[in-house]
Symmetry: C2
Subunit: 143 residues, 2 copies
DNA sequence: CGCCAGATGACAACCAGTTGCAAAGATTTC
DNA sequence: GAAATCTTTGCAACTGGTTGTCATCTGGCG
């Protein structure tokens, strides 16, 4: 088990390669993404983008996130009781621990768990396409 | 790892104990729940209930499910890309494997995984309140 | 520079779910 | 068992997150 670390890829290049145009709104949104290390939702991205370019619309944020998602550049996570939150797809796969008090998202990875999941699926006659593992918890009171 | 098995508790008694009234709509919904072993969503429950008593409203289904959920009698699962689905809370905790082709939900449980989750959370300074583990997969082609 | 498919902003529509409200129903009290 | 009381219901309107529509705009090639 270990925390994962992110490094940002060049989304602009990726977008271009996907045949998409580099527009002002997109550049702005990419800039937000490059500056962030947390897991913002669409509204947060919209607000941060608005501060840079007030003409950006929320629809464009959603459209851009969807585009990036389809390109595999970002991941969308629908954590319990809230809007979807996005994260860079860079780095290896990981799961999430959500702090119930702050909403903070901590990434972790466990090969053992992944392996057990695959075993279970196999024993039930299935092949895993993807999975979702989310731990919801609170900081332990260090007494 | 093993499949879990359900047996139905007496929801009517539980409702009464919680100080709620046993009304016709509620009785109908409970009857549906008693008859089902799958993981229906609100609309499915509504439709099955309508067949018995066509005057039932969808709001009442939602309200009743929420009530039962608060009583701990049922669990609500928000699987990917669809409405919440409900299941009896009877039996021990388990996780879910969702068949991507059919939507079928298979229950499983792994003490090893649970244990690893707790270890991970602890090592990150957290205490798990609850978790969500869902495997999304397809039946293996038995070649 | 001019073109035009692709992208945008504004806003309507959508979906799952919730809520306000007046009427109907379940329990309790006598 | 009827009245009083308090809960629940059906309906319609509303919500929050997200997607669709469409007239207008613009990036990037020629």
């Amino acid at each position: 088990m270990n925390r994962t670390v992110n490094h940002k890829p060049d989304y602009e290049k990726e977008l271009r390669r996907a045949g998409a145009r580099i527009t002002r709104p997109r550049r702005t949104i990419l800039q937000i993404l490059a500056q962030t290390d947390d897991h913002p939702d669409a509204m947060e991205i919209y607000q941060r983008a608005s501060a840079i370019d007030s003409t950006i619309s929320l629809s464009t944020v959603y459209r851009t996130m969807k585009l990036l998602e389809e390109m595999g550049a970002i991941h969308r996570h629908a954590f319990e009781g809230g809007p979807s939150r996005f994260e860079q797809a860079s780095g290896e796969h990981h799961d999430h621990l959500i702090d119930l008090d702050t909403g903070e998202v901590i990434e972790f990875h466990s090969d053992r768990i992944e392996q057990l999941q695959a075993e279970i699926a196999r024993s039930l006659g299935y092949e895993i396409v993807h999975h979702r593992l989310e731990l919801y918890g609170r900081k332990r009171r260090k007494s």
